[in-house]
């Protein structure tokens, strides 16, 4: 099974309805969905905060500014049309993420060192 699936909204539209080339069966005036990412302060990553509908990228940024930064929550906004986001399949979470569970030696706390150098 392909571990990567395409999602249409950051929700759960089944795969057969997903994909960039698909024309909505609804009215042509239905604006596409965009995912919004906000950088809260200079020096931090952009973080996903939610989604909204907009006709184009510029409108998506303007709406995101009105909806997600009314209280100085951000200094920078990214928007991406939801249909372009690819996500790992939750059904495969076990095979994807469990293998790292028994590799404690990847963590610094695995190593017992003498007190003299333990701040290493």
């Amino acid at each position: 099974m392909n571990p990567f699936i395409r999602i249409f909204r950051y929700g759960d539209i089944p795969e057969d309805k997903s994909g960039a080339g698909i024309v909505s069966s609804q009215s042509k005036n239905d604006w596409p969905l965009w995912e919004v990412f906000i950088r809260s302060t200079q020096g931090l990553d952009h973080k996903h905060v939610g989604s909204l509908h907009a006709a184009d990228a510029q409108m998506a940024i303007e709406n995101a500014r009105d909806v997600y930064t009314r209280r100085m929550e951000g200094v920078s906004i990214w928007v991406v049309e939801s249909k372009y986001i690819h996500a790992s399949n939750p059904d495969e979470a076990g095979s994807l993420y469990d293998p790292s569970a028994d590799k404690v030696y990847r963590h610094p706390t695995f190593y017992q060192l003498p007190d003299a150098v333990n701040h290493m």
Partner: protein, 313 residues
């Protein structure tokens, strides 16, 4: 994976307090219950803008006007967070809005009451938003991830709504005799409908049991209502006003306030569409939607034109 296994995984997640995310398998009824509840919640935020919008142009000062504008804008934002959360369950925005406009979907009955005086704006903030916050704080721990995240964001913003409402009433309560009377009158009219916001009694709430099992709800209607009464019965002392309930009394044994019985006939009448403003609210929503149609079309056309230019270049 066979269905019983999927169900077992789902139940296990609920037991272990692991949030359910959009792509996870979930029982159909869980999906439907969440769609119904989240979309109704979204509709309530949007319709809730109407009674307050009534006073934006008539707010007593520029400060109050700016505050009210900010609050109404918040409600619009809250509606949007919630619509987005409901959309992750597979229902389109357009479908939800159509259901609201056709009368198929419900919204909180409280917004079918009129805002007759300026003091109503204060009472709405303090009582209506206060009641909503009780429910919403509980929902920050709801089992469906996108709903819980939307609620966290909403709760952060909502506390200003309640505080500004109380403050507006506080000013009136320290004002002239007319202002005091106006304050008391608003409290009289909004108190009982606010108690109804928590929904039917537990013994008569059809959806409650399963919702508690699935941890969509964490507290029952009656529990939340009692919590609200206990809070407001104390806060009203600061205003020097009184709640319109002769039976309201501290019960030492229960460590809660006792309160009078709610007029459930009125509750069901308003739910069924016969409240003072049901018709007016839906008409206002439909009108806004219809009159905004050209904007939606123009924006789509503009985006298409810009796309084709970019493609040609």
């Amino acid at each position: 994976m066979p269905l019983p296994d999927l169900e077992k995984i789902f139940e296990h997640k609920i037991d272990q307090e692991v949030k359910i995310e959009p792509r996870d398998w979930m029982p159909d009824a869980y999906r439907k219950t969440n769609i119904r509840q989240i979309s109704q919640h979204a509709h309530s935020e949007i319709v809730g803008m109407l009674p307050e919008g009534n006073w934006i142009s008539r707010a007593p000062s520029l400060k109050r006007k700016a505050i009210l504008l900010a609050k109404v804008q918040d409600e619009g934002g809250h509606g949007l967070y919630l619509y987005s959360a409901a959309e992750t369950l597979g229902m389109s925005r357009e479908e939800m809005i159509n259901d609201l406009h056709s009368g198929k979907a419900k919204y909180s009955s409280i917004f079918n009451y009129p805002t007759l005086t300026w003091a109503d704006i204060g009472a709405i903030g303090w009582l209506v938003d206060g009641a909503a916050i009780m429910n919403q704080v509980m929902l920050t721990r709801t089992s469906y991830g996108p709903y819980a995240r939307a609620m966290v964001r909403i709760c952060k913003e909502e506390s200003f709504h309640q505080r500004q409402g109380f403050e507006a009433l506080l000013v009136l309560s320290r004002g002239s005799a007319e202002q005091k009377a106006m304050c008391q009158d608003a409290i009289n009219r909004w108190w009982w409908p606010s108690l109804m916001m928590f929904g039917p009694r537990d013994s008569e709430s059809s959806n409650s049991d399963q919702s508690m099992k699935w941890k969509i709800k964490r507290k029952s209607n009656d529990e939340l209502r009692q919590q609200f009464v206990d809070m407001i019965a104390e806060q009203i002392k600061v205003l020097g006003m009184r709640l319109p309930d002769e039976e309201l009394q501290w019960n030492e044994a229960r460590q809660h306030y006792d309160f009078g019985s709610i007029n459930w006939d009125e509750f069901w009448q308003v739910v069924k569409g016969n409240g003072p403003c049901n018709k007016q609210r839906l008409e206002a929503r439909r009108k806004a939607w219809d009159e905004g149609a050209w904007v939606r079309e123009a924006a789509t056309a503009h985006a298409a034109k810009r796309n084709s230019r970019t493609a040609a270049a």
